[in-house]
Amino acid sequence: MKRLFVVLMALVVALGFASTIKIGAVLPLSDITGRQAANAMKLAVKEINEAGGVLGMPVELFIVDDEMKPEKGAAAIDRLATVEKVDFFVGGMSSGVHLAQIPILKKYQKITVWIGAASYRCEEAIGPDADWYFHLHPWDYLQGESYAHGWRAITQKYPQVKIEKIFIAYEEGAFGTSSFKSYQDEFELAKKGTGVWAGLMKDLKGAPFKSAALGGGDYRAVLMQAKQYNPDLFIWAGYDADAIPILIQAKEIGFAPKLFVGAPPGWPADFGKNPLSHGVILYGMWAPALKDVSPIARHFWDAYVKEFNEEPATYFAPLGYTNIMFLIEGIKKAGSLDKDAIIKALREIEYDSPVGGVLKISPSRIIKNQGFRAQKILQWQNGVQHVIWPFEYQTAELIYPFPGWTGK
């Protein structure tokens, strides 16, 4: 009797394994980023299944909330691996949660395609040997490098633009501090005449602030320091909750640098409607305006709006879609569920992504499988995020200098 039961169970498991491809996602569902990424993943899975699945099998997606707590995020991996018995892990957001997941991911060594966690600490924790680990989001230092490329290209195209003195106001948590640190590292190189910022950045200063997301919200002390420094390029690295208060306070103290740049992971709901937003430059992976220049971005936008009756508000929506599509493309190309074959295939494919740009795997400082490396430089113009650089996706001309506050 008992033996029969075991055989039956084995059969069920085997059949289950053969009949569907199971993907497990871990996302913070209470946050807009995680919620929209989850929606986009569902959309991608739906499209794949409507097109007949992959390798003749339907795709099944399991999403678990990490509640933005490290231990919950880590337990979710164990759950997906042993209860749902997924074959692949996707998802991601906060670096803090991901750090706790890494030891568990290493235990299972399943193919993992991650779209969050930009901190270089995560790369250190993953280490060089994890060939099953694919990281799509650019690491913090990659972002810093890509802005250098962007600004170099912009100064060449628009000769009036000058960015010799840079001031960075950064939120005091891991996100802001590591952004600033990567600028500092690059500045040290630039002083020696090497690195991506060589000849571009002549002087750098920075000061931290407490993000409104964590109970701060008074930036005037930092803005005063910036005003006295009088930078050519002013960057603030904080969260979406800081975006408008920082503008209001900059206006209040009369600080209007020629380039006013924000680098938050998302933007508040009403930012475009706010008259102060005109001319503000932002760093990001994606902009809704991309749908006007990229067919895949258009396809994604329309499908998402149709499916969920809301507009994608953060780049984690197209990134979540990309997350699934990229993995499925890899499986298709591998033609089997063999782990090594899929890893090899994922390293070879080129996927045109709705994020804007072709996704192609290459090594980063430590890991072998890094996806996106470049960010985009965008500008708010009359309530719309326009792409300024890369020029191949440019949707509007740069407004320079920043128009300032008069009449707003």
């Binding site: 997301a213 109970g215 002390a221 930092v222 408008i244 009403d270």
Partner: protein, 304 residues
């Protein structure tokens, strides 16, 4: 009494020096400190009279921010006018929370009230999150970012409204507690609930009243704050602990002390922030001043 006087003189000199050396830090400190005080007063009222630390205090503030936002976007109501609507609404909300959740647990262990309000705060944050998502909202009015010229120092002007408001609210509360019957009853309940009940004061009514009044005052603070802050489900949360800190620093039952503590901490914070290279230590100053004040007072009073 004498030592207090010396303390105040030292404090006044320190503030004067900061005003002279770093006028910006001084003015911004006064503004932020007034805001902290304004938000802390209602929490102190509940803590002092009902004896309950309301962990959902910050969420009340968040709720009032969303209400102001809703009135602004749906009906174009100016945030400075909206207290006419939000204050009564939050009064009612405070009353309902008190009646539904707090009242029946008043006689049990006092920590139960702490956990109840924690539960309320979770429910509120998550409901707002489901309804509005985590995406911040903002209200834009041009007057929120104007500047004024004070003795040749060009500083943001809007936040002086916090200072005006906190002075008005504080004066109003003190007058209310001293001059009105209900106020004296409230004061008596705060001093000794059992004694107050014996002399015929309806203690439960006073509690309900204080709870709603506090919620209403939070709505006022929320309306003022709404044009300067982002509005998202966790926006008010940090104010709970800040308010608790000020209340403890001033000592229970010392309402003017809360405003003073708020302004002192505000200035200390802004002063440290204004020193390049030390901006990250501003919080440390906040907590060290807080701990020092509490410990100093405790040792001053020590017996046996």
């Amino acid at each position: 009494m004498k030592r207090n006087f010396v303390g105040y003189v030292v404090l006044a000199i320190a503030l004067f020096l900061i005003a002279l050396l770093r006028p910006y830090a001084f003015f911004y400190g006064v503004q932020r400190g007034s805001l902290y005080g304004l938000v802390a007063l209602p929490l102190a009222l509940i803590l002092g009279i009902v004896g309950l630390l309301n962990l959902a205090h910050g969420e009340f503030l968040t709720l009032s921010l969303y209400m102001t936002y809703l009135l602004f976007t749906k009906w174009g109501m100016d945030p400075l006018v909206s207290p006419a609507v939000t204050v009564p609404l939050l009064l009612a909300f405070g009353f309902v929370v008190y009646k539904l959740v707090i009242e029946r647990s008043l006689k049990t262990h006092h920590l139960n009230l702490l956990l109840l309000t924690f539960g309320v705060s979770i429910v509120m944050v998550e409901s707002l999150n489901i309804w509005w998502t985590s995406r911040p909202r903002n209200i834009y009015v041009p007057y929120a970012s104007t500047s004024v010229n004070i003795f040749g120092v060009y500083v943001g002007g809007y936040e002086f409204l916090y200072t005006i408001a906190v002075v008005l609210v504080l004066t109003g509360l003190l007058l209310f507690l001293k001059k009105t019957r209900l106020g004296q009853a409230t004061y008596a309940v705060g001093q000794n609930p059992k004694g107050a009940a014996i002399v015929g004061i309806n203690v439960k009514f006073v509690y309900a009243f204080v709870f709603s009044l506090a919620a209403g005052l939070v709505a006022l603070a929320g309306a003022l704050l709404s044009v300067r802050s982002s509005i998202f489900p966790q926006a008010g949360g940090p104010f709970t602990m800040k308010s608790f800190s000020l209340t403890a620093m001033a000592g229970l039952g010392n309402l003017p002390g809360i405003v003073l503590a708020g302004i002192v901490l505000g200035i200390a914070e802004e002063f440290v922030k204004s020193i390049p290279g030390y901006t990250g230590w501003a919080d440390l100053v906040f907590f060290v001043v807080l701990i020092a004040a509490i410990v100093f007072r405790a040792f001053g009073r020590r017996e046996g």
